[in-house]
Symmetry: C2
Subunit: 316 residues, 2 copies
Amino acid sequence: MRALVFDRSLELHGDYPDPVARPGESIVRVSVAGICGTDLEIARGYMQYHGVPGHEFAGRVVESQNPALRGKRVVGEINAGCGRCAACSAGLARHCPNRTVLGILGRDGAFAEYLKLPDVNLIPIPDSITDDVAVFVEPLAAAYEIFEQTHLARNQTIVVLGDGRLGALVALALKGEKYLPIVAGHHREKLAQMARLGLETAEESALRDKFDVVIDCSGSESGFRRAIELVRPRGRIILKSTAAAAAELNLAPIVVNEITVIGSRCGRFQPALDALTAGKIDPRPLIDHTFTLEEGMAAFEAAKNPLNFKVLLSAT
Amino acid sequence: MRALVFDRSLELHGDYPDPVARPGESIVRVSVAGICGTDLEIARGYMQYHGVPGHEFAGRVVESQNPALRGKRVVGEINAGCGRCAACSAGLARHCPNRTVLGILGRDGAFAEYLKLPDVNLIPIPDSITDDVAVFVEPLAAAYEIFEQTHLARNQTIVVLGDGRLGALVALALKGEKYLPIVAGHHREKLAQMARLGLETAEESALRDKFDVVIDCSGSESGFRRAIELVRPRGRIILKSTAAAAAELNLAPIVVNEITVIGSRCGRFQPALDALTAGKIDPRPLIDHTFTLEEGMAAFEAAKNPLNFKVLLSAT
């Protein structure tokens, strides 16, 4: 099959081996895949990953032992657990210590014609949402994870640090759930795009108030430090960015001001899929370009442009 | 009056000015005061504090406009808020941005014959508990603060990092409330003392399991890093120590493993006082030495000895 493969560098292969399903796994033909920040990091060597990257996708099941899945349009949870450990038993395969992760860890991903995933990871999608909407379920699930982890009151003040992909989705999810977040960033053009999506925006350096909740989606080393400055005593920081700078970070204010810091990563797909199906969020204005798999290198270049929110790869 | 005064160095003054109560304040004659880690830091220049240190005390009200307080044995909340800001309005004077703090920030403390505090800070203590028990209300309140901030289930595994003063009190509070913490430290003699108090102990470097909850009372720069290693995915770290090392600290596991970090400092006095009154905790075995105010310098030297849990100053 055709696939984008990372092995020291990213290359298009015309004859990459088709995935072979093991018992309990299905084969999916990818229709659309999204490029996210993690893919760009993988293309720079992150996770020492070798293989096909890509973990945001929508597609159709073309081979399955499970009649409920055969022929269905699906999205797929990206963490495949061992099914036997304490985390898996608690329904938290995404914290399984032995997990593989689609396109990130030990499992070829979605920048290819086909991929394989365990049947339990696949979630059929309604006819009412198109593939270019469904492809947002994975990144949006990371936004919805916040609601699974902590209760936010509707009258709390919330600032989202970061005007990039994740910041936009987190802010749209909050808005879709009737919160009133402020998106704070450094890029005037991106903040203008956010404003066109109906989001309240602010120049980050101009923020003076203290907020009940600060959500760090900055992806930058200074994000956590800025979050500590912006959160009120007894407030919460939700840490979505793994780039937090350790150097020169003074954690004493966390203790003195009794801040709660909540690390937050992937989420369950269903709440995000439900929100998209209900029309609470329309992510399509975030799509800047759609490339074919053959144009994969150009697609990655486009995804690197900080002014682009979302670049898609279409396998058809 | 006689007082220990810090101004570049710690000295005993025989003629330090008596405190003068402002409206709404009372004067307390100190009977017993405890030396804690913060006092040792202040004696090294922490907080750029100048004046009388000391914030753990029990005493008797000798001057007050409030008849409910006059002549009463009391302990006192150490944070004096402005009474007007959002934090004070929410009952959180200990997070008031304009607060003074007894013996720590802008207000002379308890290593003296007399101190003054707002009436609202003073809490009468029952006759059934002695001064050398009541003096533990302040540090124990910091332990009870944990229960105010987060819900711990009785069947969760809890490790307390640190075999010092705070670690001992946190562990005793947990044990008093029917939890089963393990105290982990480096000092064999101190762990043996903890074991004599009925606490389960462990050599920290020997810990291999992952815990639901890790409480960092280490006071050491490596405590937070070790806490990140010891907590299970989706678990909680309660950060009681402000000494966390920023350098070389990788925060990515907080996000990837979705750890919640809860900064925790001072607490309300009442739950701690109630626990002492009910006999849930007997802190007296933690007292190593009691010195007079005149022996203050020797008392500080004794408090620096890491094998000592608690050194008291008696004003009488």
